[in-house]
Symmetry: C2
Subunit: 403 residues, 2 copies
């Protein structure tokens, strides 16, 4: 591949990142209550005022990461918005649950009253992600401690006792391992450890190892298939749940593992991450007829029961871009850059909105935009800018621009 | 419309009903544990053994209704399957909840162990529906009493105290009225009262009146729009939840109301049902580009956040067929038969599977089959045969064949 092509990628990616940041800075801030509107129509109007905690935490993280690491985003406006988002989270996200325990809400009203609580760990996880990164920007040691305390609680739920999540124990509900859980925890281990030196890194080392081992348990059928759900012993589960594949998720796990190998230097794990979590899911998840990555697949070729299984969503394509560029940066194998290009061409042809900026999120199998909003209950300021920022940085590194 | 066309409708509908019953009798019975497999692939193979309680109750009801009212389905095979389904439900569906209370599970393993409990009333409602109809076939008075006791519990949750459902009370979760709840209860009131004489009819009369009043509360904007969710006082709710429309659901409510007017003779209500719950939602919910009814709409024209909003599902088309034929039978207005024909032509062109029998359930906006199974977690032996049975009966009546 020519240097010129790589320069073109970099230039376009940089422009898209600027447009994406502009869009959210312009449309998502709530000057009255703090926090962020995330239900934004194609042109940025707020079509629903609910505030989703996952997306609040993610936007705080993304703003701080941009502010802290990219000179052109080191602005007062971005810093103040991140602080206001953090303050909103700290003030409103924690709510009392049953029996005196508390959880983070999943969804809040505009002024911060809890609407819904999920019986999972993810609201808490994005709370940790946002507050830890904010504490790095502001130097707020209390906030960092708060993030670490919340992390302890999440690890306790996951590794020791899930009863605080509030799910009833049912005799037919066989305990299982969802790949989302160790992926999320590994992401937090990397967040909390990064640049903090040996004592903190050691503190999270065991959790990190556990996450990697758990993720690898989802590699089944002699390394030929990543399955979203397996038994706690790493065996296949019966039925649709056991056969479910989510190519975008596998690709994301792939680059999480690659990042982990950069830190710990594990050649076998790097090979597995690239072959089984990146190349495999990409080839089996790519639509040969219309291009793009399917949202869900069934490993035995049954029809998934998710109505949206054949749709093309923005975030699996973001994960694929990051995964292939990172795999190329690690190995310099040209076929990985070819795959990156294939994803890049599909992604930049279909998702960016030339008219109003930012990306559409939801296409039909054939590539038609079917939900035209830029933000919604599950699409915020996260996958698009994280992907663009990481790809810009990796291209700088590949092009030798980062010196 | 010519009598000949009506005869053609009737013949095709009768054939489809026979093929549909054949499909489920052949593929869905579990001879080992009782109850029904509902995850059936295109050709009838079981692709998941989970047993969804909604669908168990509905299949018991449908078998018994066919056995009891249609001579050609008055067979030992159907009766025995219905009994085995009822026995499975009575043995396994009720599970202990928190604080000594119980609920019906949403989903069971093949051998009847609870997998999941929803914090809503619907599993209990389909339990009532199935057992009451089964008690009519078997003459089992205990079973009828059990169905009525469960109904009392549901009414208590809905009208007096929802705490037994297990949902936490959250400060931002404004109490609201979902149209599904009074529709479901009205359906049960009609089921439990039918043919049982004045004492029972009187017993449920007040609940029935409450349901009708609650359903009418969802008619908003001067009678021009049916909204799925309103406040408990009948005001519009903010945001996506408040603007949501579900054309198939409105059409189903329309024929529920028409059935109610047949019983109580209410001309104004008949007019409202036809104009506002049947004709209005049909015209605003019909896709002018590709035909068929959208699954969801936003009353102000925003994009719904449900990924499947533009898909064409089998059941709204079933409800539309019943609604228009019933409206025509009540009024003999020819334009209602024209609408029936429009829905009939789309439905019979797209949903039945000429190869393996039964209907596909899920099409893209353009009408392509995108999930090719015949049964799944939400598609069982219910909407298709209920629609076909009711349409066959109504066509018999319209054609003067029912004497």
């Amino acid at each position: 591949m020519s240097v010129q092509r790589l320069e073109q990628f970099r230039e376009r990616i940089r422009q898209e990142l600027d447009r994406t940041v502009d869009f959210w800075v312009k449309h998502s801030h709530d000057p009255e209550h703090g926090g962020f509107f995330t239900c934004l129509s194609r042109d940025g109007r707020v079509y629903d005022e609910l505030k989703y905690v996952w997306l609040q935490g993610r936007q705080v993280w993304m703003y701080c990461r941009l502010y802290r690491t990219v000179p052109r985003f080191h602005t007062e406006e971005i810093l103040e918005a991140a602080k206001a988002g953090g303050a909103f989270l700290r003030k409103h996200a924690r709510v009392g649950g049953s029996s005196g325990l508390w959880k983070c809400a999943f969804c809040l009203t505009r002024d911060g009253r809890a609407v819904k609580i999920q019986r999972t760990i993810f609201s808490e996880c994005f709370y940790v992600l946002g507050l830890d990164e904010l504490s790095r920007v502001t130097g707020d040691r209390d906030m960092q401690v708060e993030a670490e305390q919340m992390m302890e609680k999440v690890v306790h739920w996951v590794q020791e006792d899930p009863s605080g999540l509030g799910r009833p124990q049912l005799p037919g509900d066989t305990p299982s391992s969802s790949m989302a859980v160790p992926m999320m925890l590994l992401c937090l281990v990397q967040q909390l450890s990064e640049g903090r030196g040996p004592p903190t890194a050691l503190k999270y080392q065991r959790v990190g190892q556990w996450c990697v081992q758990q993720i690898l348990m989802h590699l089944q059928r002699g390394g030929m298939a990543v399955l979203e759900n397996v038994s706690v012993d790493g065996a296949e589960l019966q039925g649709c749940q056991g056969r479910l594949q989510n190519p975008g998720h596998a690709l994301e796990a792939g680059w999480f593992l690659l990042q982990y190998t950069s830190q710990w230097g594990l050649q076998d794990l790097q090979d597995t991450a690239i072959r089984s979590f990146i190349e495999g899911p990409f080839h089996s998840g790519w639509d040969p007829d219309h291009g793009g990555l399917f949202y869900f697949r069934d490993v035995d070729g049954h029809c998934p029961t998710q109505l949206e299984w054949s749709m093309k969503l923005w975030w699996p394509h973001c994960e694929a871009l990051v995964a292939f560029l990172m795999a190329y940066a690690h190995t310099r194998r040209p076929e990985l850059l070819e795959c990156f290009t294939q994803v890049y061409d599909y992604t930049f042809k279909h998702f960016p909105d030339a008219q109003s900026g930012e990306w559409f999120g939801y296409l039909t199998q054939e590539g038609k935009v079917v939900l035209d909003f830029k933000g919604g209950p599950f699409k915020g300021f996260f996958h698009v800018p994280r992907c663009l920022l990481m790809c810009e940085n990796m291209l700088d590194q590949i092009l030798g621009r980062d010196q």
